[in-house]
């Protein structure tokens, strides 16, 4: 019988496998949370206490727990992984690790570990606990099996408060090896938030974080909220068929989907790979895959229709950007992780764009890497050729991986093509590429916020003595000031533009209201103008010629022609650009101009205009505002006058007057119709309230005219009231506006 020798395992081996092979302490903690996931936990509590008297990390879950034999035969057996043989948890979760070293992450986090687990053992629950001092493994000439593991005689476990079962595991790690900082906690929270994909419902796995380093991150970890992308693409490749199906929808076309089915042999031509890595041109070896891509252009349109500010949404995109690979719904690092130096841009998106930086108006448009959020879903069973690398992070770069990469790039090419297409459609429709006013409002808000942040930064810098400024800090200060000024100017322009936009809308609405009221008159005048001319011509062509009729008709034709022309001139001149500028104008001239233009409309219904009491005064005004007030009041007065069929009069007055020490002027418009009852004097100014009714009591007014006046008067810091005109007996509207 030959002599046999055996390996002896140095106790330090465990330190190499654990402490030294795990990248950082956040990754180590994440490994332990993944173990909870594999153990079918519904809830995981993570506590990190580094300040004051506490110095520990606690991870508790309500998973299946471990029996004594589980601890002895599995947990304490290095390299053992039940996940190799039992790939699915009882809940059907695909288990995430295979190498059996995840538990050694605890060594990365702290010197001492206490683990207590409650598991079902037949008809009873079994509670077991052990203590490990990892530093005992850090000894020379110490055999691994010789390091004692303490068994806790009366173990007690505190399972999560929100536990859904009575089993579970609690790990307490003390004598922490690292000084957790705010950045570490934030990074951990972010990593936890995207532990499960943002694309699917993961509410069955809740994580609660509690720490005393940065308590603002305490609470339930939630996946990033869904925000409407500009384009959403879903591609499905089932390895049993060579067909690749895809659906694309975009925010411009709502739920209208563009769907298609394509063979890889055709789609493979769409792959644009800056690194020219090899891939199969016909039969993909990667296995079935689902690819979801969301495009978030970092423009103000991103915030449209959401409750988020533009800066918040940019932050969200920043946090989630990247095309990640999810294996059985758990992300595989470092693919798509922006913080990773290697593997982050595994698709070479930045390189693609930099080689061809064409905009969306060009067919060769390439997506910008920081606009794309994506997920490539694979599974251990569906994708057996995609293998974990031995380095614990990442996948083996074999043919299957390159094929997976190629099909993902083809999906990106489809998305790019769609974005180019919708841009072309919008261009053809003559879509306005200038920002809409809602976009402008979003920019305005974001820029003000940005400007405020700049001011705060400047304040901090100003507090420091001048000699402490480095050249870079000074340069940054100057840049910040320039940025602040630019932001303020843009905000100012945006605001002015918005006001002008409202001004034009009010002007257009006023024309609309006036058209509705005077429409009957105008329509009648148009018919009369044309028909009188035709009749005159027809009478000229028959014998005997009846000259009286011909003259009568021609005179009417001229009269109504003038009336139609006057109305056209009136409507067209209401929203002229120069009326939207604030300037010094003679108010009397504005009023007389409006009255002259409306005379031809009032005359046929025998309305007399009295405007003897107009004083000449100048004020700094937007002419369109004054005209909108006048036209709406005159339109109301016109309708009111028709309530009576005798002595129809509208009286317009202009005079100066002060209010609260402010110099201003009054415009009053009174009519001979019925007065407005006092109970309606507030109600009538509100939108859609109207007193105009037909003979059947049906409301015929728009209820908008007085609301427009109210809005303008309030914007100009003026006042308004409704009185009864003693002379005419009807309503009298009295508007006061400041001179400047």
């Amino acid at each position: 019988m030959p002599l046999i020798k055996n390996f002896k395992v140095d106790a330090r081996t465990i330190i190499h496998l654990g402490r030294e092979s795990i990248k950082d302490h956040a990754t180590a903690l994440l490994e332990l949370v993944k173990n909870s996931y594999d153990a079918d936990a519904s809830v995981v509590e993570i506590e990190i206490y580094k300040k004051e008297t506490l110095d520990k990390i606690r991870i508790a879950d309500d998973g299946l727990g471990m029996t004594e034999s589980d601890i002895d035969d599995h947990w304490l057996r290095i390299g053992f992984s039940e996940k190799r043989n039992v790939k699915f948890s009882p809940k059907g979760r695909r288990k995430t690790g295979e190498k059996g070293i995840g538990r050694l992450s605890t060594d990365r986090l702290g010197e001492d570990l206490q683990i207590v687990s409650i598991a079902n053992q037949g008809n009873r629950t079994d509670i077991n606990g052990i203590r490990i001092c990892w530093e005992l493994f850090n000894q020379d000439n110490q055999d691994l099996s010789g390091v004692p593991i303490e068994v806790i005689e009366t173990p007690l476990a505190a399972l999560p408060l929100a536990k859904k079962t009575d089993t579970g595991t609690e790990l307490i790690i003390s004598k922490l090896r690292h000084n957790w900082t705010k950045e570490n906690i934030e990074a951990l929270r972010n990593e936890l938030s995207i532990l499960t994909p943002p694309f699917s419902d993961t509410k069955d796995f809740e994580i609660f974080l509690q720490n005393d380093v940065s308590p603002e991150f305490n609470g339930k970890i939630s996946p990033p909220d869904f925000v409407l992308p500009e384009i959403e693409l879903i591609m499905v490749f089932n390895s049993s068929s060579s067909d690749i199906k895809y659906d694309i929808k975009d925010k411009f076309n709502g739920d209208k989907l563009k769907s298609g089915t394509i063979k890889w042999a055709e789609l493979s031509h769409k792959v644009i790979d800056p690194f020219d890595l090899p891939f199969a041109s016909e039969n993909l070896s990667c296995g079935s895959v689902i690819i979801k891509l969301l495009l978030y252009p970092r423009t103000k349109a991103l915030a449209e229709g959401t409750n988020f500010s533009l800066s918040e949404l940019r932050e969200y995109v920043d946090k989630n950007v990247g095309v990640k690979i999810y294996r059985d719904n758990i992300s595989v690092k470092p693919y798509g992780y922006v913080g990773s130096i290697i593997g982050n841009d595994w698709l070479g998106l930045a390189e693609r764009h930099s080689r061809n930086p064409a905009g969306i108006d060009r067919p060769e448009y390439r997506v910008v890497a920081n606009q794309l959020v994506g997920a490539v879903f694979i599974g251990r069973d569906d994708n057996p050729n995609i293998l974990d690398s031995a380095a614990r992070e990442g996948l083996v770069e074999n043919d299957a991986f390159f094929d997976l990469r190629a099909i993902t790039l083809s999906a990106i090419a489809l998305l790019e093509n769609h974005r180019y297409s919708i841009y072309q459609v919008q261009k053809k429709r003559g879509a306005n590429t200038n920002p809409s006013h809602s976009e402008t409002a979003v920019i305005f808000k974001a820029e003000v916020k940005s400007a405020k942040e700049d001011v705060d930064k400047l304040k901090q810098l100003i507090k420091a003595p001048m000699h402490l400024f480095t050249e870079n800090e000074l340069k940054k200060t100057v840049d910040d000031i320039a940025q602040f000024v630019e932001a303020s100017e843009k905000a100012s322009f945006s605001f002015t533009d918005l006001l002008n936009h409202n001004r034009v809308l009010a002007g257009l609405a006023t024309i609309g209201i006036a058209s509705a009221v005077f429409g009957h008159e105008t329509q009648g005048a148009i018919t009369e103008f044309r028909e009188s001319a035709i009749i005159a011509r027809e009478y000229l062509s028959i014998e005997p010629i009846e000259l009286n009729i011909i003259i009568d008709e021609l005179e009417k034709s001229i009269k109504y022609g003038e009336q139609v022309a006057a109305w056209g001139k009136f409507a067209l001149s209401r929203v002229q650009r120069e009326k939207r500028k604030k300037e010094k104008r003679n108010i009397k001239e504005i009023i007389e101009g409006i009255l002259n233009e409306l005379t031809e409309v009032f005359k046929p219904v025998d309305i007399e205009i009295k405007n003897d009491n107009l004083i000449s005064l100048e004020a700094q005004v937007y002419p369109m505002d004054i005209e909108s007030i006048l036209v709406n009041l005159l339109t109301n007065a016109y309708t009111a006058c028709l309530q009576k069929n005798h002595h129809r009069v509208i009286k317009v007055e202009l005079f100066t007057g002060e209010q609260n020490g402010v110099k201003g002027y009054y415009i009053t418009i009174a009519n001979s119709g019925h007065p407005i009852e006092s109970s309606f004097k507030d109600w009538i100014w509100e939108p859609l309230n109207t007193l105009k009714k037909d003979s059947t009591g049906r409301e015929t007014g728009t209820g908008l005219g007085l609301t427009i006046i109210k809005s303008i008067v309030e914007d100009l810091n003026g006042t308004k009231e409704i009185l009864i005109d003693e002379e005419l007996g009807g309503a009298k509207f009295k508007i006061w506006l400041p001179l400047t």
Partner: protein
């Protein structure tokens, strides 16, 4: 001589319409017809007698009859006027010619008009429309004439006491058709009985009033 009457408070408008209709009548050689145009009457109830007294066979209305400050107290529209006219003249041809044929007030009375026309549409095909108006007017005149003649015959027979029961029923139907007030009691006895019943009812009411007042006093 039958007349076509136009009712509109806008003199200019109605005169243009009058001239247009007269032109069409000349083209259609319908010199028997005349066109008259009037301001709306202050009292809505005056139209029926005016129609009957002035041989009006066709009436044309505008919807808005109070646009001009005439000083009169017109407080009704074309759609209210047609309702009033139809209370009495069920078959009389009435047309609306207006700039706003789709006004809800007017459309709600659509079944009462022979036709509601947009002013533009009428002017574009005035000859065709006038032909249609005239046919309606002629039908009315003929029917009205024959009904009046028969009414006269039957009335005479009843007065002479020579009418049969069938003729009495025919008179009743004719009165309904022509919207005339009629007596539905064929015999004097029946009339007297009903009269007596009514007096008795009034007597009973009078008694109740007396009792009520007496109770109030005490």
């Amino acid at each position: 001589m039958p007349n076509i009457a136009i009712v509109d408070d806008r003199r200019d408008f109605r005169r243009t319409l009058k001239h247009k209709i007269e032109l069409s009548l000349r083209k259609l050689n319908q010199s028997i017809w005349s066109v008259i145009d009037i301001d709306p009457f202050p009292i809505i109830g005056d139209y029926v007698s005016w129609i009957q007294d002035n041989d009006i066979a066709i009436l044309i209305l505008d919807e808005k009859l109070q646009e001009v400050a005439t000083g009169s107290k017109v407080d009704y529209s074309g759609s209210l006027l047609i309702e009033k006219i139809r209370e009495t003249l069920k078959e009389f041809p009435v047309f609306a010619i207006t700039s706003y044929p789709n006004e809800p007030d007017l459309q709600s009375k659509f079944p009462l008009f022979d036709e509601i026309l947009e002013r533009d549409a009428f002017f574009n095909k005035s000859d065709e429309y006038i032909s249609r108006f005239l046919r309606a007017g002629q039908r009315f005149l003929i029917t009205h004439y024959e009904q009046l003649k028969r009414l006269s015959e039957l009335s005479e027979k009843i007065a002479l006491g020579t009418s049969s029961n069938e003729e009495k029923n025919e008179l009743k139907l004719l009165q309904i058709l022509m919207a005339l007030p009629y007596s539905h009691l064929p015999t004097r006895e029946q009339w007297l009985k009903e009269y007596e019943d009514k007096l008795n009812e009034l007597d009973a009411i009078s008694l109740k009033i007396e009792q009520f007042l007496a109770a109030k006093k005490s």
